[in-house]
Symmetry: C2
Subunit: 187 residues, 2 copies
């Protein structure tokens, strides 16, 4: 099936250098970091970058897939947790951290979920599927409103993650997420 011819030594070396520098650049400048700059820092020509990663999304996907897959796996683990709502909140917080690693990433993943042709769709979608089981379980346990969809919930998490970036200081996302769960009305 997956008869991947091994890469030539120079190709593999460049591939890995590129990923290292891309990670650094995206972390520092956000998902819009200059690709030419990444190639330059990796010590390869821009053509080499484009051969290995034909689009920016392809590069991002390679960096993120493992992280997103781990997040999906974590959802499966949390299905065994005794407290459905807490498990869901726990998982969402992790997702928020994951999409918070690069500036601009939340926008990308939120859009990817609505665009099957996106290169990021597959891993994002798998994550959503995994998460939706946590949602259903929390609903079934009567701990979560029954009229909220997994889509809405995920979007609210993304929104909180987005907002966390626009609040001075740390931990903004957690605070906002808590507010979203509790509601704003005085009780």
């Amino acid at each position: 099936m997956t008869d991947v011819k091994p890469m030539r030594a120079d190709a593999r070396r460049n591939y890995e250098r590129l990923l290292e520098e891309a990670q650094r650049a995206f972390a520092e400048h956000g998902v819009e970091a200059s690709l030419e700059d990444i190639a330059r820092r990796a010590g390869v020509g821009i053509g080499t970058l484009y051969r290995h990663f034909p689009t920016r999304d392809a590069l991002l996907e390679t960096l993120l897939r493992a992280r997103f897959d781990a997040q999906a796996e974590r959802a499966r683990e949390l299905l065994a947790d005794a407290e459905p709502l807490a498990a869901l909140q726990n998982w969402l917080a992790g997702l928020g951290d994951a999409t918070g690693t690069f500036r601009g990433l939340v926008e990308l993943t939120a859009d990817a979920l609505n665009d099957e042709s996106s290169r990021l769709y597959a891993s994002c979608h798998a994550m959503r599927e995994a998460g939706s089981h946590l949602v259903e379980r929390a609903k079934a346990a009567g701990e979560l409103r029954g009229d909220v969809t997994a889509e809405e919930l995920l979007l609210l998490l993304h929104a909180a993650s987005w907002a966390g970036r626009h609040l001075p200081g740390e931990g903004g996302m957690q605070r906002l997420l808590a507010l979203v769960f509790e509601g704003l009305r005085a009780s």
Copy 2:
């Protein structure tokens, strides 16, 4: 004080053509629309655009100031409303509409609120001040949680507005905002 020497006729004409085309371009392509394209469509040179509006923000601010000021004014009116929480929600919905006019505008206003050197800061800040009175009133009436700040509330509104753009179909923002007020816990 404001002894504004009247503009030369051609200058005024160009100024207005530019605003018209900018409105159209931002509405169509979002706040990142090409400035060269705006100048082209307005039938003026790029230099003319930059003379009238030295930065993209200056152009945006001219287009938005009236709208934002109206929003601040609306907050003052709503202070007379008999139902503090409803008035606040009403006002927030209007703000959501205002920041939803151009793609990318929410990000801009959310950032402007944290950056006094931004050209948009003044009008955004005035709006926040006006809104915070509505917040305080709703708290005082015991209809809104006492531990929420106006900053957080505005940010949550912005987040809902942001998220509304990433949900297929209309009215996403209103639905999300409602969820934020009600809370997600089953009651």
